[in-house]
Amino acid sequence: MAKRRILLCAGSGCVSSGAWKVKEELLRKLDERGLTEKFEVVASGCHGFCEQGPLLIIYPKETLYCRVEPDDVSEIVEEHLIGDRVVERLFYKDPETGERIADHAKINFYAKQERIVLKNCGVIDPESIAEYVDRGGYDGLRKAVSMDRVAVIEAVKQSGLRGRGGAGFPTGLKWDFTYKADSEKKYIVCNADEGDPGAFMDRSVLEGDPHAVLEGMLVAGYAVGADEGYIYVRAEYPLAVKRLRIAIEQAEEQGYLGSDIFDSGFSFHVSVKEGAGAFVCGEETALLASIMGKRGMPSPRPPFPATSGLWGKPTCLNNVETFANVPFILREGWEKYAAIGTEGSKGTKIFALTGKVNNTGLVEVPMGNTIRKVVYEIGGGVKDDREFKAVQIGGPSGGCIPNSLIDTPIDYDSLVEAGAMMGSGGMVVVDDETCMVDLARYFLEFVQSESCGKCPPCRVGTRKMLECLKRICDGEGEADDIDWLINVGESIKSYSLCGLGQTAPNPALTTIRYFRDEYEAHIKDRTCPAGACQALIDYVIVAEKCKGCGLCIKACPVEAISGEKKTVHTIDYDLCIKCGACMEVCKLDAVIRGKPAAQKEEAA
């Protein structure tokens, strides 16, 4: 008899929430009850619903248990597995209706998605090639090698697939350029240097379905005439590296990788290169320099990698998600793929939905869906019912899209029009407690420290912009700062060498475009409307609410709070370091962030 399957999400999110401890306990408990012959525990890749992890799915009904702790395991085994009674308290609770839902397919977070690339993620065991093959894996490759190379490239062109790394260059065209380059030796490179803060799509695909990426690379290798491939993975992703290595080994054993694949005469070998921590290496020429063991600095294009890339040879470079789309196009046909999405943007896009939203996690939707649908229907709305202020799309290269544009369709061209860009797919929801000036400062600080320093517009320009934004956040902005930022920002965009500099000013420019009033409040009124900029706020004890319990006095690390028991406490602002410890411990919400005390005194 086939074993009943218990699926445990072992993506990085769930592992951080304690998935391995749950697995250990589950195995122990199954053993104790003599059930190891009846059930198998499979650790899958990311199931996407990281907010609710660790996740446990019990087949055949696919009952989903959320936030499972080791202590819950015993009840699940006794009740569900033995007694056949579900454990309702561990079901997902719909934040709107309060209803407990057992079937994960009925939860809005999953029901409203369309999963093509993530089809296998969180469903199969990523360390088993057999499970991938069972679900149609490597059929796309089998089909490709039976076709003419040009026909494969034509299919990818017709599918309308565009690069998922951010810029959206047509994938088929890139393949065509590499195919046409005249050389005996060519390379395929997979860009898995997912460096955007707030993005984890590529990581989840690599961890959850590594063979899909390999298959995409193999098809590309066959099409352009390459026999060697590299996967450049961020060093911060150890689990992805491990699963990729296992996948490569298995594919080699089974003959999907190696010499004379499917007796077609086509040979292909793949190796993994671990990055060493440099955001700029996501840029293709910098990435190639890094593989060759040099400082990861970009170089001017042309020549493009398609004509002169790795060790001077034609190189086709695509992103993880791009490659993971390819098997579907070959297996199901480009017509089916091109039917999904909009005129200019075909297929689906995966987003890492995070920030102040109820359901954080991995979301795959057809191109052309609106931001509203993603945030409200899939994401379950803004956390704590606060006000939706904006969504930051595309990380440090992207921009903020405000509430007024929440019905913008998500496709390459509409996002650019709104001043953002697709980027790799980070989508961070921000509410009225997030300061947009501070957010711009945050991104500039990031790009400034990651600027490789090769070209002055990026190296000097981002530093100057950052200094200006810091000044504004500190309440020392000047009247013409905003125009100055726009001016310098536009120059950096025009004159920088690579994509990092060309997009670095975007977070500042879009926040100025849509939230100019916040900048003005910082500069003219010296206030931070969101109450986030430390220099522009003070922690204030609300006399009406304070019962004088003394908790904040104990919590304060610098002894800035004083007061007798049962009398209202006071903060000495000469000592206060604004760490917020008092606000955190107060059980009566008597400590709030308010206007600086000095200002209030002046006003009085």
Binding site: G198, A235, E274, A278, M292, G355, V428, T434
Partner: protein, 165 residues
């Protein structure tokens, strides 16, 4: 400097270098494995790698300082990496970082004098669903508050104190 040359154990490095003889693009993996072995990149190791690869020492140094992963100074026994990715940032990661660093007397991060801890910011650890989060060595801790983060750090602190006494 002469002292470190004398105390430098070159056998492990030689083994690493021998694995990469004649392979192109070997410098970064060599540096990675050297750092895994020694905990950081000692000056003498940089010198010997340059000699082994027949390239100027400046070039090795240039690559080692370009990437955030490489360290030229000894590191703490526990590495606390506080994530300051976007999702963590908007959920208050800066407060967590400043709370930990002020408790360990490390303004702005760095390594404690007794080499017990290194505290640093990282851009994104890719667990944004659990923001704000941090990693201590290979353990990940999510959904933090400044208070819960300190409790976790205190756990490690207690362990190092116990070892010292």
């Amino acid at each position: 400097m002469s002292e470190s040359v004398q105390t430098f154990d070159g056998a492990k490095l030689n083994a690493i270098l021998s694995r990469f003889v004649g392979k192109p693009g070997a410098l970064i993996p060599i540096l990675q494995q050297t750092q895994d072995e020694y905990g950081y990149l000692p000056r003498e190791a940089v010198r010997r790698i340059a000699r082994g690869l027949r390239m100027p020492e400046a070039q090795v140094y240039g690559v080692a300082t370009f990437y955030a992963q490489f360290h030229l100074k000894p590191r703490g026994r526990h590495i606390i990496r506080v994530c300051l990715g976007t999702a963590c940032h908007v959920r208050g990661a800066e407060m967590i970082f400043s709370r930990i660093t002020s408790a360990l007397d490390l303004n702005g991060g760095g390594t404690t004098e007794d080499l017990a801890f290194t505290v640093e910011k990282v851009a994104c650890l890719g667990c944004c669903g659990l923001a704000p989060m941090m990693m201590i060595d290979d353990e990940t801790y999510g959904r933090l508050t400044p208070k819960s983060a300190m409790e976790i750090v205190n756990g490690y602190l207690g362990e190092t104190l116990a070892r010292a006494s």
